[in-house]
C-alpha cells in the first residue's frame, strides 16, 4: 500500500515537472509586417489603389494609338472621339 502510494506520489511529481508552463502561442505566417489578416483588412483600400493606378495609367497612355484602338474607342459614349482621331490619320 505504502509502496503504491509512493509510486503514485512520485509519478505525480514527475507529471508536474513535465507540465509546459509557457503560454502556447502560434505565430501566423507573415512577411515582415504583412500577414494574411493584415492584407484582408487592407483589401478595400488596396482595390481602390488598384483602380486609381489604372486610371493614372490611362492618363499617360491616352495618346498612344495602340491603346486608343484597343481600349478607348470601345468606351460606349465618348469612344467616338478616339475613333474619329484615328480615321483622320488614315
Amino acid at each position: 500500500m505504502l509502496r503504491e502510494r509512493n509510486v503514485q506520489f512520485f509519478s505525480t511529481i514527475y507529471i508536474i515537472k513535465n507540465y509546459n508552463t509557457r503560454i502556447n502561442t502560434k505565430i501566423s505566417p507573415h512577411l515582415g509586417k504583412l500577414s494574411f489578416k493584415n492584407l484582408l483588412n487592407y483589401s478595400p483600400n488596396l482595390m481602390l489603389w488598384g483602380g486609381a493606378s489604372v486610371v493614372g495609367l490611362f492618363v499617360f497612355v491616352e495618346g498612344w494609338p495602340l491603346f486608343q484602338q484597343t481600349l478607348f474607342q470601345r468606351i460606349p459614349v465618348v469612344g467616338k472621339h478616339w475613333a474619329q482621331k484615328h480615321s483622320e490619320e488614315n
Binding site: L48, G51, A52, G56, F58, V59, E62, H81
Partner: protein
C-alpha cells in the same frame, strides 16, 4: 455640395483622392483637346486642309 460631403466622397481616403485627380486629368485633357480643336477649326474655317481638299482635287487651283 457642401464641403463635408465632398470630404466624405473624395478626400477621406488617399486612394480615392489620387484616383479622382487622375480621373479629372483624363477628363480635362480629353475635353481640352476637343475644345481647342473645335476652336481651331472654326477660327480657321476655309483655310484648313479639310475645306481646301475638295477644291484642289477638282482642279480649282488658282494659285498654282
Amino acid at each position: 455640395m457642401s464641403f463635408q460631403s465632398l470630404y466624405k466622397l473624395v478626400f477621406r481616403r488617399n486612394s480615392v483622392f489620387i484616383g479622382s485627380i487622375f480621373l479629372g486629368a483624363l477628363v480635362f485633357q480629353t475635353t481640352f483637346d476637343v475644345g481647342i480643336n473645335k476652336f481651331w477649326s472654326t477660327y480657321n474655317k476655309g483655310k484648313l486642309w479639310d475645306d481646301v481638299k475638295y477644291k484642289l482635287e477638282n482642279g480649282d487651283t488658282e494659285e498654282e
